[in-house]
């Protein structure tokens, strides 16, 4: 146990050296805290119409102005963090767990299992994810749970494939052969011996998945496929589209900056983790 702790300490010391990555991490923590403590931070409920006059530009009362119905933009941005972070992390954790499980089993048992997995992941790599997400959400409803569910369905194959590659390599190592010789059960070997060694790339992949899920959720909302009883950055951008030509800049800038800076920070974190955790892997094919 102490070994693992000191290893985390070692990675943290490496991570700390990258100032940009530290700022990105602090920013993500800040956004999460903002989402959690939203009611304390802002006095206006995000969907309250007439919280101020219609289209008030940023002022002392409304830091980020108000929209057409006098809703407070700042409240929307703060509460929007809940949806983005919630969807992002739930989808990433869900798809990572499924990907880990299926990827490990396919690689460990090989043959038919592996073939089936490879065929499925190939199909998912070719299907345009956004189109499928739109189709499913348009037909099955745009509740947050549906959105999370759809993103998980669409992204687990990426993780599974990644895990598969790792497990295939590890399977040949002596410690696995030794465990087998000792008569350990397959599940023990898979999930206690092999799995901990694949965690580094899974963590990197996970942080990219969070960013990706946030963008997909915002994109669906931007097309009008968001749930209307919630405030999210994507929905705010969707609603602000009509007012662009009226030179109303605050309705689209603030939610957009929130979305962009969050995604950028997550990508920076993933990039830094990638160089720290697997120094040999310099390249990474980013697929969507």
């Amino acid at each position: 146990m102490t070994g693992e702790v000191s290893q985390i300490g070692h990675y943290w010391r490496l991570y700390r050296k990258d100032k940009v990555a530290v700022i990105a991490l602090l920013y993500i923590i800040l956004i999460i805290l903002a989402g959690i403590f939203a009611p304390v931070i802002t006095k206006f409920p995000p969907l309250l119409t007439g919280a101020g006059p219609s289209f008030a530009s940023p002022n002392a009362q409304h830091f980020m102005g108000t929209d057409d119905l006098g809703r407070d933009i700042f409240s929307g941005v703060i509460y929007g963090a809940r949806v983005s972070m919630g969807v992002g992390f739930a989808a990433a954790v869900g798809s990572s767990l499924i990907g880990l499980f299926i990827g490990t089993i396919a690689a460990y048992y090989g043959r038919t299992y592996d073939m089936i997995l490879m065929r499925i992941t190939e199909i998912f790599f070719v299907i345009p994810m956004v189109f499928l997400a739109i189709l499913l959400v348009a037909f099955f409803g745009s509740s947050v749970w549906n959105v999370i569910f759809v993103i998980i369905i669409l992204s687990w194959p990426r993780t599974a494939r990644l895990v598969r590659g790792q497990v295939l390599a590890l399977k040949q190592r002596d410690f696995v052969k030794a465990s087998k010789a000792l008569g350990e059960r397959d599940f023990y070997i898979m999930f206690r011996e092999i799995l901990p060694n694949t965690l580094a790339p899974i963590i990197v992949n996970g942080s990219i998945e969070v960013a990706r899920a946030i963008v997909v959720e915002a994109g669906l909302s931007f097309l009008g496929l968001g749930s209307t009883d919630l405030t999210s950055w994507g929905i705010m951008l969707y609603k602000s589209q009509r007012f662009l030509v009226q030179q109303i800049w605050w309705t689209f800038s603030f939610p957009g900056v929130a979305l962009f800076s969050t995604v950028l920070s997550l990508n920076v974190i993933a990039d830094t983790l990638n160089t720290i955790l697997n120094p040999r892997i310099r390249k990474r094919v980013v697929r969507q």
Binding site: I134, F139, F140, F222, L244, K283
Partner: protein, 326 residues
């Protein structure tokens, strides 16, 4: 076996391997219309269809028959090019879609060219000055590029360049007030194309430069580069003849993925810029609950992408015959 025979075999094998994927796509589209909450007829006819059409479609799709029979009927219809009828446009769905294809091809084509040229140029620049200030700048720019949500960048571009500076039109493909003809019409379309293609191109430029740079950096570590350099070949020539050429082959396989990404991005770009392509059509159809069109856009673009991916794989195998032997 001869090299040509080998290639022919690879092409056939690759084409066959695309069949299950196409089948899967059709199955998803079929199941979505049948399993979604509510009456399947809504998803087959759209929300504004009159009763006669509904009755006609119920009979046509055999909605009272078991699911697998329905799938066969659906499959047979698609095979004949019958994607259903859009009551919103009062046209066959296929016709509605085909009318929008040229605009999307123009937008995506221009954006890919733009992204490839600038992206590869940036990659070369950054590899030639590895770990320098320029390299850092290029990496940061690409990171920013692919972190920017395409729809937000679209709004930003519209606001700055169309609304504030009035340099470019805020949307559309042609100036409806001036009925240009001939070369003026071409120029008019090009003028309208600038902002949307900048929007799509900028996002994926970062991705391309990042991938190309990674490939080039990888090639640079190979022995034959050391050999080339030690023979005294000028650095510029080493880069062009040895590094870039070897790095570009893997990048071509990305083209399939890139077209997919661009088509997805085009949904948002076209929505913001009212560009009359498939993406805008999808947005309008979602809004009008014209489900037959939504389903058909999904099926058609997916099948196109499956074909593009297969073609790039084949092209890659011509560039690098090693991959034909699995």
């Amino acid at each position: 076996m001869t090299n040509v025979g080998n290639l022919k075999q690879f092409i056939i094998r690759r084409a066959i391997s695309a069949i299950p994927t196409v089948f899967f796509i059709l199955l998803i589209a079929f199941l979505a219309t049948r399993l979604a909450p509510g009456d399947p007829i809504t998803y087959l006819a759209g929300e504004h269809a009159p009763q006669e059409l509904i009755d006609e479609l119920k009979a046509k799709f055999g909605l009272d028959k078991p699911l697998h029979v329905q799938f066969l009927i659906y499959f047979a219809n698609l095979f004949r090019g019958d994607f259903g009828y859009s009551f919103v446009y009062r046209q066959s769905v296929l016709q509605v879609i085909l009318e929008r294809v040229p605009a999307t091809v123009l937008l995506v084509g221009t954006s890919i060219l733009f992204a490839l040229i600038i992206g590869i140029a940036l990659a070369i620049l950054s590899v030639r000055h590895l770990n320098s200030f320029i390299d850092t700048m290029v990496s940061s720019a690409s990171m920013i590029g692919y972190s920017l949500p395409v729809f937000w960048l679209a709004q930003l571009l519209t606001f700055i360049f169309a609304v504030k500076l009035k340099m470019f039109p805020a949307g559309g493909m042609i100036n409806l007030r001036a009925q240009y003809t001939g070369i003026y019409r071409v120029l008019d379309v090009a003028y309208h194309l600038i902002l949307p293609s900048l929007n799509l191109g900028l996002i994926y430029m970062g991705l391309i430069s990042r991938l190309t740079k990674a490939e080039m950096a990888e090639v640079l570590t190979q022995d034959f580069i050391l050999t080339a350099r030690s023979k005294g070949i000028p650095e510029r020539r080493v880069m062009k003849r040895h590094v870039l050429r070897n790095a570009l082959a893997p990048v071509t396989t990305m083209t399939g993925v890139l077209v997919g990404l661009m088509l997805s991005g085009a949904i948002f770009t076209e929505t913001v810029f009212s560009w009359p392509g498939l993406g805008r059509l999808l947005y309008d159809s979602l809004f009008a609950r014209d489900y037959p069109v939504v389903t058909a856009i999904f099926t058609v673009t997916s099948i196109v992408l499956i074909m593009v991916t297969a073609i790039t794989d084949i092209l890659y195998s011509i560039l690098d015959p090693r991959i034909r032997v699995e």
